[in-house]
């Protein structure tokens, strides 16, 4: 059967595209890291800003995924029929992620509401458990 080997465009133009995508991926990663550091540096940050930054990080993550799949994995240049066989099954994730995270949150609320003991226990401050330290355990057994 006939198929193309995807050698469209000339070598230097393709190389240029690769470096452009590399630059975009690096920039997106740097912005993600800036947001990450921002959340770390400001422990007193309000919940609203924190969730906005986390949402932005997820959008940046998805755009990085798009650039890798579309350009590095070359999916953008395949036929539409083929792209759809890959993309359509993945759309189910939209529902799966929403349903599972909602379920997790609902379980938390139900348990806090009905299991008073669990709720009280999860408020007790703890000390760092030093006994489970893997290093000390090693010495005890004399390895």
């Amino acid at each position: 059967m006939e198929y193309s080997t995807n050698s469209h465009g000339d070598y230097s133009a393709i190389k240029k595209e690769i470096w452009k995508v590399t630059l975009i991926l690096s920039l997106l990663t740097i912005i993600e890291l800036v947001f990450g550091f921002w959340i770390y540096a400001q422990p007193t940050m309000g919940e609203g800003l924190k969730w906005t930054l986390k949402g932005l990080i997820i959008i940046l993550m998805l755009s990085k995924a798009f650039y890798i799949v579309a350009y590095f994995m070359h999916l953008k240049h395949e036929l539409r029929t083929f792209i759809m066989t890959i993309i359509l099954p993945l759309i189910s994730f939209v529902w799966i992620i929403f349903a599972f995270l909602y379920d997790g949150n609902s379980f938390k609320d139900l348990r806090n509401g009905f299991d008073r003991h669990h709720k009280a226990q999860s408020k007790v401050k703890a000390v760092k458990p030093a006994a489970t330290h893997n290093n000390t355990k090693k010495q005890e057994h004399g390895h």
């Binding site: 080997t5 590399t22 991926l25 690096s26 990080i57 890798i68 083929f82």
Partner: protein
């Protein structure tokens, strides 16, 4: 898109590939899709458990070390950023190897494959260091020495998910490095030269990019949010 328009009417009439993609590449894509579901199942399970917990350890407190850093110096995100960039760069060299293959440029294929293998090995080295470090801090499957962000007692869910998911990803990186080494040996043996095309490199490349793609998600889910 003009090629699509002309090809459309007879796309499914037989006699030619309706996807205009080589068989091995189609199968690699579908394998990667199934792998996507495996990784997604892991990450969604992690998300669900995290959403059901009243508190969770702060990743910036857990992953705050760097090799050879003096005691007490906290460098959250720095080490894992370096790991991320190593993987992005190795992905770039892999694309360059694939493109060189399209132009039957054996020398460039060899050069870029070697760079990709070095990148993969560096990433695995970083991960081995991080795992060793966490192990010596007392973390392992079933053991979690890190307190929750609000100072309450932690569950082992955090470490179980961390080691399982980064371990499964690391195993994929390891497999990718092995595949790339085989590709390098085959290129050096002129196997592709005799075959007339370097399409095998393209399939190895798809796998390698997928490994990078998964890391984008793992990195965000575990270290950033």
């Amino acid at each position: 898109m003009s090629t699509v328009a002309t090809a459309q009417p007879k796309l499914w009439a037989g006699g030619k590939s309706p996807f205009n993609v080589e068989y091995g590449k189609v199968m690699m894509w579908y394998f990667l899709m199934s792998d996507t579901f495996t990784f997604a199942a892991f990450l969604i399970a992690y998300g669900t458990v995290r959403f059901s917990a009243n508190s969770w350890p702060d990743p910036n407190e857990v992953f705050n070390t760097f090799p050879f850093a003096p005691e007490g110096v906290h460098t959250p995100l720095v080490f894992v950023s370096i790991m991320t960039f190593i993987l992005i760069v190795s992905s770039v060299t892999m694309v360059l190897a694939v493109q060189a293959g399209h132009h039957n440029d054996k020398k460039a294929v060899v050069k870029n494959l070697i760079l990709t293998i070095i990148g993969g090995a560096l990433f695995l080295g970083c991960q081995a260091w991080e795992w060793t470090h966490l192990y010596h801090e007392g973390a392992w499957w079933g053991k979690n020495p890190f307190l929750n962000a609000d100072g309450t007692a932690p569950t082992v869910n955090f470490t179980n998910f961390f080691f399982t998911i980064t371990g499964f990803h690391g195993f994929h990186v390891f497999t990718g490095v092995i595949i790339n080494i085989i590709m390098l040996i085959m290129t050096l043996n002129n196997t592709f030269e005799k075959r007339g095309h370097y399409l095998m490199i393209e399939k190895a490349g798809l796998y390698w990019h997928f490994v990078d793609l998964v890391w984008v998600f793992v990195f965000t889910c575990f270290y950033l949010i």
